[in-house]
Symmetry: C2
Subunit: 87 residues, 2 copies
């Protein structure tokens, strides 16, 4: 049996690191036309609230990964605003 905390760390590492190849792809293609603005804004809001939830319940992996994730998704929103127009 592995601890819940370790599981949370692996889960968060996977979910948060998923944004990295997506960011790389957008910045490489210099196009984010297919990315939905609503997707990035809703996801950023949700991740920010998960961060508050983690702080409420002192869930270390929830806090760490959602803090990093918020930064990654904010970068995705920036990329959408920069490269979102029809190519």
């Amino acid at each position: 049996m592995i601890s819940a905390e370790l599981l949370g760390f692996i889960a968060g590492a996977l979910a948060t690191s998923s944004t990295i190849p997506q960011l790389v792809r957008i910045f490489r293609l210099k196009s984010a036309y297919e990315i939905s603005t609503a997707f990035t804004i809703l996801l950023l809001s949700g991740i920010s609230l998960w961060l508050v939830y983690g702080l409420y319940l002192s869930l270390t992996p929830v806090i760490i990964w959602n803090a990093i994730g918020a930064g990654c998704v904010a970068t995705l929103l920036f990329a959408k605003l920069k490269y979102g127009r029809k190519p």
Copy 2:
């Protein structure tokens, strides 16, 4: 003060529902060229592990939203496989 559980429900509702406009956009454009395959696979793995984490710690909002989220991201992966080629 609102309860942590209510906060978790709102956080999850926002984060999970974010995939809906992204799915709508991909299926409407019939193109997922800009979506990273690694993004969808890593996110699906991460969400699935968050679900297990929620089950370990009996965190109701974590369980519910990650179960629904896994379905949404699996659909995104399907869309990427279907519409991922260069338009």
